[in-house]
């Protein structure tokens, strides 16, 4: 009986064990999803703090309900560990590690490489492996496969199967979560595709199969590049509209009434989060190997990088109108999360903007109901202050950087002397409100 048949039988009889590598905002919801479906899950993470939290039933991801995490941990369907030798207990390994860019905007593949080394050294024959992290097309076949074969001494499609299935997690999305978001899957061989489909189908409602890992890799890049390019486009049009005395927010609301062929994007101080500002540069990286220049992504990245600088100028312009300089002025930022109603400040443009204002000598404080402390891009540490009428009155300028739903526009407008509203929170803006 082939390894493939044995594994398929195991899946059919619900006796397989799934290992999830990386227990962040992608891996933990996926682990919980499988555990809820009755599959035994081992979660792997190098952070002992995360492992301990999970094993004590303490949730740290906003999109998971605390009670559900507690339940699957108590039922022993999900256990977490930092001991990667337990990879040998798993029939399938789903890799959900970060793929950041380094300081020079080059892909940092060390997390994927390290996961492949751990898997290669520890897996048993008959293991299915799938990468979920965003990366450049060809990673699965050209980077991962050689490491796995070398470290394990095993042969692909005989002893193990490799696939790529990109995560589509959208933190804070109330309609779509891991289970009900269709998932793309591409494997190197037909056996790998069949096994992958059987495994994922237990936790995911709908799988969309493609012909290869590199097609699936390009899918993820396309989805995020689409967003980067469109946000950059609307940011550029917002800057021009500002010069022309046109309210870009009014323009977008009107364009949205077109019932076909239009999707609305909104301007902001820059692009944040873990995917959109980063993924397109993965494609730029591989494109160079093909002597190809991605002009759209290049232009979009350029605008995106400049946005915090333009926003710093806007703050300076606003203060100038009341004869103040940034240097020495009290500037209160509202919101440092990269999008509304979430507790994530990764790659948030607010952090870059705060850094720029600090560099100019601004006396900066911030309030975010979901993020109690941050480190700015310059390395300064800041603690969230309380949002009181007095805090607004005391500020020379209040800058709205994130449109958290809990913010009260009337209260802000009533007490703040000068507002720079980068998120269209203040609707009936008077002279003391500067809008993006």
């Amino acid at each position: 009986m082939s390894q493939a048949s044995i594994l398929i039988q195991k899946i059919n009889s619900n006796t397989e064990t799934i290992g999830i590598i990386g227990l962040g905002y992608v891996g933990l919801p996926l682990a919980v999803g499988f555990a809820q479906a009755g599959v035994t899950v081992i979660g792997f993470d190098k952070s002992q703090e995360k492992v301990d939290k999970i094993n004590s039933g303490t949730n740290y991801i906003q999109d998971i309900r605390d009670a559900i995490l507690r339940e699957v941990v108590e039922n022993i369907k999900l256990i977490a560990t930092s001991d990667f030798s337990r990879i040998k207990e798993c029939d399938a390994l789903l890799i959900c590690v970060p793929t950041p860019l380094d300081k020079f905007r080059k892909p940092d593949m060390s997390y994927i490489e390290s996961a492949c080394v751990s898997i290669g050294q520890n897996m048993k024959p008959g293991t299915f492996i799938s990468l979920e992290s965003t990366t450049y097309p060809t990673t699965t076949e050209d980077l991962m496969l050689p490491i796995l074969e070398k470290e394990s001494g095993m042969k692909h499609d005989q002893d193990f199967w490799l696939a790529y299935s990109p995560e589509r997690v959208d933190p804070g999305n109330v309609s779509f979560h891991t289970k009900n978001t269709p998932k793309v899957l591409g494997a190197i061989t037909p056996d790998g595709l069949e096994i992958g489909l059987k495994i994922y189908s237990k936790a995911i409602d709908q799988l969309h199969l493609v012909s290869s890992p590199k097609v699936a890799e390009m899918v993820k890049i396309l989805e995020n590049t689409y967003r980067l390019v469109n946000i950059s486009l609307i940011n550029e049009l917002a800057l021009l509209s500002g010069k022309m005395g046109i309210d870009i927010w009014e323009v977008i609301e009107a364009a949205k009434t077109k019932p076909f062929g239009f999707q609305a994007f909104y301007p902001g101080p820059g692009i944040g989060g873990h995917c959109i500002p980063l993924d397109p540069f993965y494609l730029e990286h591989i494109a160079k190997k093909y002597d190809f220049d991605l002009s759209m992504i290049h232009a979009a990245g350029h605008i995106n990088m400049r946005m915090p600088h333009y926003m710093a100028i806007k703050i300076s312009t606003a203060l100038n109108s009341i004869k103040k300089s940034v240097n020495g002025s009290k500037i209160l930022f509202l919101g440092v999360a990269y999008k509304p109603n979430i507790d994530d400040a990764r790659e948030s443009p607010a952090l870059e903007l705060i850094h720029l204002i600090l560099k100019k000598g601004g006396n900066v404080s911030y309030h975010d109901p979901y993020i109690s402390s941050v480190e700015t891009h310059g390395g300064s540490s800041l603690q969230s202050v309380e949002l009181t009428p007095q805090a607004l009155i005391d500020a020379d300028c209040v800058v709205i950087t994130t449109n958290h739903s809990v913010f009260n526009p009337e209260m802000i407008q009533k007490h703040a002397k000068l507002i720079v509203d980068l998120r269209n929170v203040i609707k009936d803006a008077g002279d003391h409100v500067y809008k993006l």
Copy 2:
């Protein structure tokens, strides 16, 4: 009683006459829409041929049903004329003239200027005027208003009212037509907005009012720029995918399964039609006045311009595989319309591609079921040939430039030796099919 009150009374009692200037794919459906709603309409066009056709009940626009045109002409709700002095019979004038770019991609405002001169010299006091043509923001107030006041000697907001309401006609769209597509309207003054709303409401189900003509002008530009940028992005990704051995069409189908935050666009040999390739350059034109560089539109325009050249190279590569040169080869193009199932070849990338292949010495013929003859961008005239098995067999290379639904992929694949498929018409492509 003010002129505004008199006009509103007239509209309320259904005794107003509406003049439509320009009876093309925008003006004629609008004229028919008003006439169907029981409003008396005079259609103006400089082309005596169009005028005669309409007055004899002969339709020349695909999106209008012949019977409906005949009906409104027979009921004398719609009459057409080339006599612009009859402008004085109209209470409202809706301008639907072309706004092309000249050879240097500069906006050609002569049609709008000429319409304004005719209106200014002929209109009676108490006339509402609305521009529907795409143009750069500020056109209505800064270009049209001075001409109208000068030519008429009348005063805006007292004797006449000026507004901008962009057309959203999508030729061939079976779900959305003039009446059920929401329409944006921005006027210079509140009276103008009120009158415009009352007039348009008779023929349009839903009006979306904005605060000024320039906001409405920017809405139209945003809608079309969004499409230009996204088509250019997918074209660029298609070119890279081709180099990487990734099927971009498979990638797009998979990305479409993402249920939020994505809208699919498809690659092609370039961008055609009357709006998308042109409108963004209107914005570039005005942006220069504000010392502003639109990098996204610039990059998008660049890709778009290069696409026919890349496609010419693809044809040459395909022929090279069978040891033939473009020079002297028989090349049959299928489809010259700029999008499927319509009879419009304006700005069609097929015309540019045919021109390039002719220049290289290709022996070119074309078939399009809806367009019997064309003039290429180089000025050559071609007649559509019949699409027979023999015509396919005789061609050294068959190039699919438009995906008309009536094309039969099996029949094309069966008889053609070599196919360059720029529209993903051939699904199970073998070695003799080159895809974009």
